[in-house]
């Protein structure tokens, strides 16, 4: 052990190092951890957010309201959120993995295609929503073309079920490019020797994928699944731009309920209870995926 390194291990050294973390801690705790604490506290109160009023303690009343759902608006939003998170995650990852396999070799054509698949990510989700609304709306480009051909128009954003499907499709359009880049990076790590020897042993394309490429991609799959689920659980901007939650409440997801309904109605207690639940679900889901995927990743390590 080099002698100078002892200075890092002494109590004084550790204290001096601790000081280095203070600025980051101050910003992080002050504006992220304390708000989480506030959210937990407000979630047990009735509070309209006005400075003149103080929050009144109501215990579990807000959580009971979410569970009982007297106005019947919260439970539909749970289903919208689940549909977006589950269907969206599957579609995003299927599209991203499929295209990553098609575009894995670096040729000028493939590089161009990767850029084209990725570019929606640099646009803000709100703008993506507005743009697709102008294309798919009742007066939008697609319906005008259909009308010009003498066809009947399609209710992309006017029918509740169509609107939810359209919303998911637009989210997939905007998001799979990011995961595509991650899958491409993961494919770089697949050992070419292993694939070559599998092929020499007589494995076909499908078999090579199943027994060599897919296991080796395991760590990448974990990262893409967690990041997709986390980002799809909280989508808000694209909903606001594309459907504004409509028609009716057909595309109002949990984040929309928090920001555009509860918070907008000054129902801070309810908004915070909803926020606490979403943070818990997001954390729990990520944790579950990571734990479930760990076995697959261990398989990948023994393979590599």
């Amino acid at each position: 052990m080099p002698r100078t390194s002892t200075s890092w291990r002494t109590r004084a050294g550790a204290f001096a190092n601790g000081l280095l973390t203070v600025p980051a801690l101050a910003v992080y705790v002050g504006l992220l951890v304390v708000p989480v604490g506030f959210a937990v506290y407000y979630s047990f109160t009735d509070y309209n957010g006005f400075p003149s009023r103080t929050p009144t303690w109501v215990g579990l009343e807000n959580y009971r309201r979410i569970a009982d759902d007297p106005i019947g608006d919260l439970h539909p939003s749970v289903w919208v959120t689940v549909a977006i998170a589950v269907v969206g995650t599957l579609l995003v990852n299927a599209a991203a993995l499929g295209l990553a396999l098609l575009l894995r070799r670096t040729t000028p054509f493939n590089t161009f295609a990767r850029v084209v698949m990725f570019y929606p990510h640099v646009l803000s989700a709100l703008i993506v929503g507005f743009l697709w609304q102008a294309i798919l709306g009742p007066q939008g480009a697609v319906n005008n073309i259909l009308g010009g051909w003498g066809q009947s128009t399609l209710p992309f954003l006017a029918d509740p079920q169509w609107a939810l499907a359209t919303l998911i499709a637009v989210i997939v359009w905007a998001q799979f490019g990011v995961q595509l880049v991650l899958y491409l990076a993961g494919l770089q790590a697949v050992s070419p020797d292993l694939k070559e020897s599998a092929r020499i042993d007589g494995a076909g394309g499908g078999q090579v994928f199943r027994h060599v490429t897919w296991p080796a991609l395991a760590p990448t799959v974990t990262v893409t699944l967690v990041t997709t689920v986390l980002s799809l659980l909280k989508v808000y901007d694209v909903v606001l731009g594309l459907t504004n939650g409509g028609p009716g409440d057909a595309t109002q997801n949990w984040a929309y309920e928090i920001l555009a309904v509860s918070f907008a109605n000054n129902d801070i207690g309810l908004a915070c209870a909803q926020a606490v639940l979403l943070v818990l679900v997001a954390g729990l889901l990520s944790f579950t995926i990571i734990v479930l995927r760990r076995r697959a990743e261990e398989g990948a390590e023994s393979l590599g």
Partner: protein, 280 residues
């Protein structure tokens, strides 16, 4: 065998070409329709008649009072730079301390920071508004910068500490034998070596800050004198969403520069993303 392979390649190229075209159609529609009057947009959304095409709609969008384009760009750019300055400036020393101190307390500290990556920023914005109010920072740019930086710190710090762990300790030790203090070692020896990971974090944070809509909308407030690109577009478009003479030119003005930057920097942006994911 060869004919089978040629067929496969042809099929692959066709699928990719069709998909690429599908990805680009929305951009084509947006650009073409930014130069047309409402009636023509409705009649022929895909075509453009150069006899009637005009830049007057773009000019009108440029002069729109609800979305001052130049100021919007200035504010968004300021947010990108200021948030990165705060997030990277605080994360570098903290990550260094965490990576170099072999004590349990510092490992717990790292996990405490990492937990923040799983907290959706826009969801925690509602209570954050009350924290900012009590600090007197509600409705101000410093308040907005602090909140957005706080949401960037977990990821930034996490990738930084993983990167610093890969840098040999002997560097620090040699410098400390030469009499350099902690801050000196950190900023003159370690920080310059962190350039690749700092660039990665900068790019990812910049994209997040540039595209953030909820934080500026809620913290600055809809009536604020400061408008970002996103809150400006919202103010200009949301109430006129079927007036395509306003929608398409406004969207074009909002996305053209960022798309240009992306095309020029695409290698760095997409490379940064995969680098960040591999480290994360």
């Amino acid at each position: 065998m060869t004919s089978k392979r040629t067929f496969r390649t042809a099929a692959r190229v066709t699928v990719v070409a069709v998909l690429s075209a599908a990805m680009l159609v929305p951009m084509y529609i947006m650009v073409v329709n930014a130069f047309k009057p409402q009636q023509e947009i409705l009649l022929s959304p895909l075509g453009i008649d150069f006899a009637t095409a005009s830049t007057e709609y773009l000019e009108a969008a440029w002069q729109s009072t609800s979305f001052p384009v130049v100021e919007g760009y200035a504010v968004s750019l300021f947010l990108v730079l200021a948030c990165n300055a705060v997030a990277i400036g605080t994360a570098v020393p903290a990550a260094y301390a965490i990576a170099r101190t072999p004590k349990l307390l510092f490992r717990i500290l790292l996990m405490f920071f990492v937990a923040g990556m799983f907290v959706p920023a826009q969801i925690i914005l509602v209570p954050a508004v009350f924290v900012l109010k009590s600090l007197g920072l509600m409705g101000t740019l410093p308040g907005l910068v602090l909140f957005m930086s706080a949401t960037m710190i977990p990821f930034t710090l996490f990738v930084f500490s993983a990167y610093i762990r890969m840098l040999p300790r002997s560097l620090d030790e040699a410098a400390s034998i030469d009499g350099a203090g902690r801050q000196r070692i950190l900023w003159t020896i370690i920080f310059p070596l962190m350039r690749p990971i700092v660039a990665t974090a900068f790019i990812l944070n910049a994209l997040g800050a540039w595209n953030d809509f909820v934080s500026p909308q809620l913290i600055l407030g809809p009536g604020s004198e400061f408008r970002t690109i996103t809150t400006g577009v919202y103010a200009a478009v949301s109430t006129y969403s079927t007036n395509y003479e306003i929608v398409f030119p406004t969207l074009l003005l909002a996305v053209a520069p960022i798309l240009l930057i992306f095309v020029v920097m695409q290698r760095h942006i997409m490379g940064g993303l995969s680098a960040g994911a591999v480290k994360g």
